[in-house]
Symmetry: C2
């Protein structure tokens, strides 16, 4: 577990450096746009998605060092979605990653544009990175990430549509599978593709990622209730204020904790079908589970 | 010229069909998102950028029929930018392509998401289309389009920053080169790449496209003053209301008409360096010039 903590810290530092290089400097005109991009992208964030890409590529043939372009692209897409989700017409949030949200700091227009260009830069990185596999294999990776980014937007709309409405457990799962799960799954599968995982291994990775993605959301719901705004770095208790459907609101705190345990077990069981050293991937499950235990 | 009109009509129809196939049906959940996407994307638009891609690919080796994926992608990116530009915190417009803007019809949140996913779908199309060149050539095309999309956002921020400020002719040109010119240039250059144009030909095409892109903006400025809202399909006279710098405000109506003539001549002169039948490309210059003559 000490090793896993070191792995996460190492990935976070390297990804930060990579991201810093692929976005324009803050003094590049128009400065306001590039300051906004850097404000939201750098200096915070747990870099969970990059860690998943790199952990999976490392698990399959030690290819983690070739995966930074894909890792960065997925973090860029994640960050653009956070900026747009926080806008007044969406979740209307003031705090993100422990600081003011992009639109609070730079105004709505620039925040919209910063999100827009972060998505674009993600695809620039995917095409221009020098270490990712080339040719049609890279096209497959870009296509997969684009499909996940589209699903993420669909999930965001489903989430908007559900506000104030009666939502079933199945609908809630569907929202999260699209909104958060799609990018988590893409992170793992892309890591597997970079590591030349077999078809059977990709199938197992997909099961792992789907359980991990839901586990991530379930623990997020728990943290929203049990943690302070200061600890979270984003506004706590928002789900209740917005009367958003959450796992605790549908199945109670105890039921939600039990579900988290089941999802962790499903993720670990998927890994047992892979005849590799999957300790980095099981480390991710433990890390997410431990957020709420 | 009769042929050129038929060419444009044919491209517009084929592109409409292609776009209709690559976005989800209106009854695909979440319906609100997909209705918004289709509202803004289909049933209108001059399809200038697709026409440029296809005209250029056709000019070089008759490859127009292979270029629809790139043509559609550039139209998807253009449409996403229109939706976001029209938002209340940006240009705050009610009318676009002769109908209500996306946020007037579907609300701000869904309009933001519709723009977001249109950008994503552009990159999906670029990776999944079956007729575009494969492998590293396609990566080059995607990279070029992504760079243009990033420049477009930069131009939009420059435009925002210039609102109400004193703007020089040089600054105005810089705004337009980024905001409109980048996607126009990418359309032409990508068409050239699909048609295997030589390096010298790409250089000539770049000169042609830069002049055409500015010509397009200069004539837009003239139309904003001289035409009615009904004819334009978007709100006329907005530049004056927003006290935006325009060519007429800086160099007068007559000076602007003269500049349009010079830009058309520059575009045509660039074409004369290309030893092909460039009538489709010169037809585009005439068509844009004739909007205001």
């Amino acid at each position: 577990m000490a090793d896993f903590t070191a792995f996460l810290a190492n990935v976070a530092g390297s990804v930060e450096g990579y991201l810093d290089r692929v976005v324009p400097a803050a003094d590049t005109p128009p400065e306001r746009l590039h300051e906004a991009v850097r404000w939201s992208l750098l200096g915070g964030g747990k870099r969970v998605r990059p860690a998943l890409v790199i952990a999976t590529a490392e698990t399959f043939g030690g290819k983690g060092h070739l995966a930074y372009g894909a890792a960065a692209a997925l973090e860029l897409i994640h960050t653009y979605s956070l900026i747009h989700d926080d806008l007044p017409s969406m979740d209307d949030d003031d705090l993100r990653r422990g600081r003011a949200t992009c639109h609070k700091q730079f105004g709505e227009a620039t925040a919209i544009l910063a999100g827009d260009v972060l998505q674009t830069i993600a695809f620039q990185v995917l095409t221009n990175d020098e270490l990712l596999p080339g040719g049609d294999k890279r096209l497959q990776i870009i296509s997969l990430i684009a499909a996940a980014a589209a699903d993420m937007v669909i999930g965001q709309q489903l989430d908007l549509d559900a506000e104030g409405a009666q939502v079933t457990l199945g609908q809630l799962e569907q929202i999260h599978r699209k909104k958060t799960g799609s990018i988590i799954s893409a992170s793992v599968i892309v890591g597997g593709l970079i590591g030349d995982a077999t078809g059977d291994e990709i199938t197992a990775l997909t099961r792992y990622a789907e359980a991990l993605g839901l586990l991530f959301q379930v623990t997020d719901d728990l943290l929203d209730i049990t943690q302070s705004t200061e600890t979270l770095g984003k506004t706590a208790g928002k789900d209740i204020v917005f009367s958003k459907a959450t796992y605790p609101s549908l199945i109670g705190l105890e039921g939600t904790r039990q579900l988290a345990g089941e999802l962790a077990a499903t993720a670990d069981s998927a890994l047992s079908a892979i005849e590799r050293d999957t300790s980095l991937l099981s480390g991710m499950v433990d890390r997410v589970s431990n957020r709420v235990s």
